[in-house]
Symmetry: C2
Subunit: 320 residues, 2 copies
């Protein structure tokens, strides 16, 4: 029986690492999850990743010919193959992740952040197939972005373009982890939504079940559930989040003129609660020439495998 | 004697049209100016342009072999070769400018707006030689922009990317010609600077020679001259303009991660008055990972010929 040509897609998150074998058409042939254990050195994680890969391979019914390895990881530098000053991993200033992986598997390795991987995944296997200009926004704890222009991911001069989460909403605004104030991700993210609830609880007089939840305990899922049940504070929080996000997405459109913007990640699961008002605000604040020409879409990648698919797409894209 | 290989670069402005023969190295072999007469149909202008080209050719001592025609013109659509709803030309909804030119000279023709032409000019013949990621901002009556990422101009899905002049500074801000409020170009442009003087004359108590000039009569050059003479209102106007511009350039950096941003056009002639505070504000509002890595530079193209050079670069770039 002929060997199947695959790549290994690895998504390293703060808590969990997902990996899998993915063929050129985006079929995931086998996958596994392991704890990231971010307090350990990177070498340890890479060792455990390759143990897991050996197991998957051994147990797979078909022979797999691996062509390369794609990795999505926070604070990645694509040009150097490194991870630099990651917030949730105790790896230090700079880790040559591509080099560590090549010690186990001497193959082409590509490393980028999760939002860039999501963008390439969307282009190869998701809703952006056939598009040459689009943007992917990941809405989780923070806000990440991957920009594709002229059919290519925009890496920028230092391999770290696409930080829309740190565009400015208000110079006197909310404190951001990056050290600046008023960054977009302090408003438009799971965390930002909860912070907005906290503001609205103070501003508004309406009764709300969210009044009895502490900000530390509040989750975006709770806010979504409350909004779906008609809670006025939760609904106002989504509207205010959508206004800020729509405004800054209109700005993003004025940069690269995309055909579509995809919202991806935890907060995007809120569906119409988020998409409907964001679409309206984005159109309202948009340069008239673009109005009505830019779609706001959910990810078109297979749910549950999207992070691995994105990482795999990264290396498939480079293998050509 | 051997023929010189050249292209024709044409810059169509609201008042004046400049054209010239430009070789592959950016040498302008001959050039001419003619009035645009924007109230006439496009055909008339194209006729007069080619009359002028014939004259230049006839009088040139060396035989010229023309390889193509590049045109910078407001409201150009690069993908279609058209000019659409130009504000300062009575050409109507859509004019097939590339087609009109090809009736005179059956050669490759490329059409784009002046800011995109300036960006390609900077890349081939100016300060961006060797750069793969940079942005050109043109500061005149309005604010135009051309974005280069991965070594290619970003045209976007509809051929009209790079409208940074219409990114949002303040949703309740100044009325813009585009119909929206608070667009960047209502603050950061020659016109925007004068509007800011008008605001500051009301806000501040200091004496100023600008108090005796009407807003209709005021020019950015006058504001520059006053600032250079120490006028407090004029100095404050430059500072406030630089703050808004620096803030939005920091946002632009977070999109495409450029190596440099070039300021081009009338207002850029203010030199340090504009560059120094804009650099400071841009760095202050920038995502920390980019800080200190993005240069803010004046155009490196030959003064007086830059518009023709940009238009010529556009077509040289496409001829490969």
């Amino acid at each position: 029986m002929e060997a199947r040509h695959v790549v290994i897609g690895i998504d390293i998150g703060g808590t969990t690492t997902a990996l899998g074998f993915v063929d050129r058409h985006g079929e995931v042939l086998a996958k596994a999850l392991l704890p990231t254990q971010g307090q350990e050195p990177a070498q340890e994680l890479v060792l455990r990743i390759f143990d897991s890969i050996q197991d998957l391979r051994k147990n797979h019914p078909v022979q797999l010919k691996v062509e390369g390895v794609g990795i999505g990881v926070p604070n990645a530098n694509h040009a150097k193959g490194t991870v630099e000053n990651p917030v949730n991993l105790s790896w230090g200033e700079s880790t040559d992740l591509a080099g560590l992986v090549r010690m186990h598997q001497n193959l082409p390795v590509a490393v980028t952040n999760d939002a860039n991987a999501a963008a390439i995944g969307e282009m190869l296997f998701g809703g952006a197939q056939g598009m040459r200009d689009f943007i992917v926004i990941t809405l989780g704890t923070g806000l990440g972005s991957g920009i594709v222009a002229n059919g290519e991911l925009v890496y920028g001069n230092n391999g770290d373009a696409g930080e829309l989460g740190h565009t400015l909403v208000d110079p006197e605004g909310r404190q951001c982890n990056c050290g600046n104030r008023g960054c977009l991700e302090t408003y438009a993210s799971a965390t930002g939504l909860c912070r907005t609830v906290s503001v609205l609880l103070a501003e508004m007089g309406e009764p709300s079940e969210l009044r009895s939840v502490s900000l530390a305990a509040l989750t975006a899922k709770q806010v979504s559930a409350a909004a779906n049940a008609g809670d006025p504070i939760a609904l106002a929080a989504f509207d205010r989040t959508a206004r800020v996000l729509g405004m800054k997405l209109a700005d993003a459109v004025a940069h690269t003129g995309p055909e579509a913007i995809f919202l991806f990640g935890g907060l995007a699961a809120a569906g119409d609660l988020l998409f409907k008002p964001t679409r309206e605000y984005m159109d309202r604040f948009m340069f008239p020439a673009y109005r009505g020409k830019v779609q706001l879409l959910p990810s078109g990648m297979a749910k549950g495998s999207s992070a691995v698919l994105g990482a795999a797409a990264l290396i498939w894209n480079e293998l050509g």
